[in-house]
Symmetry: C2
Subunit: 340 residues, 2 copies
Amino acid sequence: MSEQVRVAVDAMGGDFAPAEPVKAAVEAVNASPAISVFLVGREQAVQEELGKYQYPQDRITVVDAQEVIETGEPPVHAIRAKKDSSLVVALTMVKKGEADAFVSSGSTGAVLVGGQLYAGKIKGVERAPLAPLIPTAKGVSLLIDCGANVDARPSHLIQFAKMGSIYMEHVVGIKNPRVALVNIGAEEEKGNALVKETYPQLKACQDINFVGSIEARDIPAGQADVIVCEAFVGNVILKLYEGLGATLISKIKKGMMTSLRSKLGALLVKPALKETLKDFDVTEYGGAPLLGLKGLVVKTHGSAKAVEIKNGILQCAQFKQADIIGKIQNHLMVTKKEDM
Amino acid sequence: MSEQVRVAVDAMGGDFAPAEPVKAAVEAVNASPAISVFLVGREQAVQEELGKYQYPQDRITVVDAQEVIETGEPPVHAIRAKKDSSLVVALTMVKKGEADAFVSSGSTGAVLVGGQLYAGKIKGVERAPLAPLIPTAKGVSLLIDCGANVDARPSHLIQFAKMGSIYMEHVVGIKNPRVALVNIGAEEEKGNALVKETYPQLKACQDINFVGSIEARDIPAGQADVIVCEAFVGNVILKLYEGLGATLISKIKKGMMTSLRSKLGALLVKPALKETLKDFDVTEYGGAPLLGLKGLVVKTHGSAKAVEIKNGILQCAQFKQADIIGKIQNHLMVTKKEDM
């Protein structure tokens, strides 16, 4: 057994806290001997939930934090004001080296701001992107950046491409991942000012497999593994994925209820359909890493259930064992040297 | 019978030219006595197609143009170089007042550039947006702008909101249409620099029904009628709509072929499913007006069939009868006066 990975889990974050984060912690330590968990939140409530399960007691520790940051709160203010919140207490543990990673289904803004403020960026990293995996016809792609920092510069996008490439290769296991830049046409001269300036710089990068521009139309088909864009566009893509999938599925279900014939058919296709749609549900891949930080921070979907949070926790082990932080650090340093 | 609307149709534009544009022209004049069509393109090829149909001969005229602008050509160059192209000849007719409108399934870039160059913008209009209708759970919404001019200013977005509002009210028939600004959160303080600057200005507009920000997730649900964004984001939304729909449908079809049970069910649900998916096919609503021009220019999808092109032609009649150009002109002038 290799070194333990110590994951601080936000027991108060998300729509189903503390029940689902607690259940996830139990499932994670039962699934992997390499993981130990700190459940950070209101001690009494967390212990009550924990009491329902069997688990190796030495690998789950409850850490008390009485405050909770709500989704609607302005992130910067919330983090400053609520020092005894599960989020701040857990991130402080990462900062002090008491925990290796932090997993939260809480407010995205607070996780992003808190992650940068407490864990801190790796030296040389200009901006820490939030990079969810999105389902495609061929598997998954990494959409980088979907964070809260918009209006990026070309140098940010270049770093996103490199960090995303490392992540897809060493955590998801895709050899020589194809990196593409989101654009409104395939030609090099197309795009807005940011894209036009970034394109030749990405093309010149020797250390990534840059395949050119990608139109949004080709993202779901899986035509690239690392989809690079600034956060406003990334957010639009991620959320449209969610919304369009949900609307289409509800239309299909309603459509199948229009005649006796189709109702009967619906009964028969239901199991197969359910499986397919699950594959394509963006919330199933809820564990989005915040890359470029000195500690591991994984944001799971606000409506995440135990299985997704557990996957987020297990991802931390992979992330640490593959030494992603070290790889990003070395990579950026090498690139810097090459540039000179 | 009111005054005739004379529509110049690009007989050489799109994947199925000249067959589908010619068929569309015949169907349009047969459908509405208010319409007459100029079919602009290679005369011999067009006449050959026309020979297949019955139609009132006095309402379809073939206008010869020997050149064709291809989809891959750089638009500005193509328009300058190919004076005898169907696109340039047809737009010149609009410019000279020989035709009221132009419908083309050809190169989007060429239609956009040509439309602005030949038809010219209405006085006071800063930028002419391309505004396709997209399907939603509740009907359709207008996505404005999806054109080729990116990096918009707030004043552009304000005009898009006003023009889109007029279009949805008087062409699509939605009373007091809800106007929303695409953003990455519902709160006023969220967004990139453009959105933050535009939001309070839209909020201050007395002449539109501004309902605030819309997240991409809520677009397919139909939470607004006029979806305002700059063209890069609009393009991403439009193309992701197409791509995600196509991928999801192909996954569902494949999923239903996994077992005997689901195969049988698939046979039964097929007709209902087909109807539903057609409702949600963005290419079905292929006729996107280029708003803010002195002539009517409608861009239909490159893969448009006769039915969509016909709808584009019929839209021109509605557009002219509702005097959208006059309304935009008056509206912008009133707004200017109010501002003083």
